[in-house]
């Protein structure tokens, strides 16, 4: 997983820096100098990293950063990662479709019930507390403009 992620990043950065260099070529020098000065070395370095992975040097390098759950089997970790990603994407979709005020309680309640397997009453109370904090602070106190969501707009609410 470690080397696959590194290869994905290196290839992604090759693509991004390659595009950055090609796009910058068409601009006046004032606008293109900085992207070119960074893009070219990044392309070369990411190609070196990709080659490093592909040529078989897959040992884990030390890193000054946090490590994600290493004591969980890889297959289980992948499954749970996919599930977490789906919940995150689902929450975003809900926000776009029904807006923050409805998506927040919907997501919290469903997550507690389906993923957390919490009891009905506990899930309802916890959801109500989160929603009250959200509504009281962001909507009532700070008057932040939360759009109503595409679905609500389409239905004419």
């Amino acid at each position: 997983m470690h080397s696959r992620a590194s290869l994905a990043l290196a290839l992604g950065m090759m693509a991004v820096s390659g595009y950055a260099v090609i796009a910058a070529w068409a601009w006046p020098w004032k606008a293109s100098l900085f992207p070119l000065a960074i893009g070219v070395p990044v392309f070369v370095l990411s190609a070196a990293e990709a080659a490093w992975v592909v040529l078989g040097t897959t040992e884990k390098s030390e890193v000054q950063d946090v490590q994600i759950a290493q004591d969980v089997p890889e297959r289980v970790a992948l499954g749970r990662t996919a599930s977490a990603a789906a919940w995150i994407a689902g929450f975003f979709a809900a926000i776009v479709l029904v807006g923050f005020p409805a998506a927040v309680p919907l997501f919290v309640f469903l997550y507690l019930k389906l993923e957390g397997r919490e009891r009905w009453v506990f899930s309802a109370v916890f959801t109500a507390v989160i929603w009250a904090c959200f509504y009281g602070l962001f909507d009532r106190l700070l008057h932040l403009p939360f759009p109503q969501g595409w679905l609500a707009a389409w239905l004419g609410f």
Binding site: M1, H2, S3, A5, S6, A8, L9, M13, V16, S17, A20, A24, W27, P28, K30, A31, F34, P35, I38, V42, L45, S46, W52, T57, S61, E62, V63, Q64, D65, V66, I68, A69, V72, V76, R80, T81, S83, A84, W87, I88, F92, I95, V96, F100, V104, F107, V108, Y111, L112, E115, G116, R117, E118, I130, F134, L137, F138, L142, P145, F146
Partner: protein
Amino acid sequence: MIEALFEGLFLVLQWKPLAFMALGILLGFWVGLLPGLGGATTLALMLPFVYAMQPVEAFAFLLGMHAVAATTGDITSVLFGVPGEAASAATILDGHAMAKKGEAGRALGAALASSLIGAIVGAFALAIAIPIVRPLVLTFGSPELFMLAIVGIAFIASLSAPGPRGMLRGFLAGGLGLLCATIGQDPQAGIARYTFDMLYLWQGLDLVAVLVGIFAIPEIIDLAIRRSSIAGSLPAGRISKGAFEGVKDTFRHFWLTIRCSLIGTFIGIMPGMGGTVAQWMAYGHATQSARSAEERKGFGAGDVRGVLGPGAANNSKEGGSLIPTIAFGVPGSTAMAILLGGFFLLGLVPGPDMLTKHLPVTFSMVWTIVIANVVTVLACFLLLDHLAKLTTVRGTLLIPAILVLVFIGSYTSNNHYGDILVTLLFGGIGYLMVIGGWPRAPFVLGLVLGKIAENYLYISVARYEAAWLTRPVVLILFVIALAVIAYPFLQRRKAAHA
């Protein structure tokens, strides 16, 4: 001057300024805890309320609020791995790693104690800098500010893992950050770079949205994979007990805390550098304090020095950034630009008058920073047991609450869905970086400093052509940048020979 210093203290200690300061502290406390809602946003929201206040009351309210937001921002960073403020993201690397090891109390104790020392150093710098600030600030033109950004970028070498592979990944991460900094309208030629015809991208990537994504999303996924609390199966009693140990750590590494406070103050003084830079430079300096390669490995895995450095710099920068704001009316950051608006609302003109006629008001600001931080840190210590116990709450309860905060925090940056998409995109990149063993700190350093470096480089070339390269301070900073890059290599070589 001494008379004005005490007059400033007495002005703040009257009941009305104290009451407004308490209100400001209360607001700043919560603003700091909530991701996305930055101190600058809240300053802007609260600015209309100062119309009816006296200057001392208004600054006690505004500065009290702003000064504590940086302190409490560290709490969210340590406990949940979500940056409460953009300027408290660096605390995550070691602070949250300590929380995962069951040392949340110690990390919070260290963050709070170093924040307090940082705030005092920043306030002290503000007090003593008043007579000498003018020549210092005027020494730094665009060439020097460009070189200062280069010194910051040079810290990538210290923030990367040892060995050629670690360095390669560190520089790649830094390069990605620098590339991302070029997104948006180019300030020189007006070209929209990498915006894909989207108006949203014209102003570039929003720092809060990127930081929340790159740090918070991997932590949420980690929590979802482990299916336990942040501190795992560690007993709750142990977690909250280390707070005093964290305070002792601050004094154990006292000179590191002072040095990082001075870095924060200095970056704060420099107009246009911004507070986010200070914490990462301080973190880079903290990693250099490791005496051996073995010690360096501890950074990112929960070394308390990684908490002390950013914690101190984060708070000392406030005093520093007030210096050019008060003395010249040149704001050092967005928050200071808003505070400058407060000056005009109150009928005060920044400049010589603030250093002569209104000197007691200026000193009242110094005292406000100190008192507000002392009050906040004491209040936080009283709450520390409860705060640290949050790391024992099961993940299935924390994940929805944190995700709501992450999405709202990201969205409120610009009130645009694009911010959430940016958060998700960089959340994915952050996850791959953690899984792949790439350091995230160099990326943030590149992103923060890229735009600053590019702007100052063009101004320097346009104004001085190649002559800027021979300016004495530029040469000194160039040597410092080389030393910063060479230091980890020299350290490793020394360790190999030992």
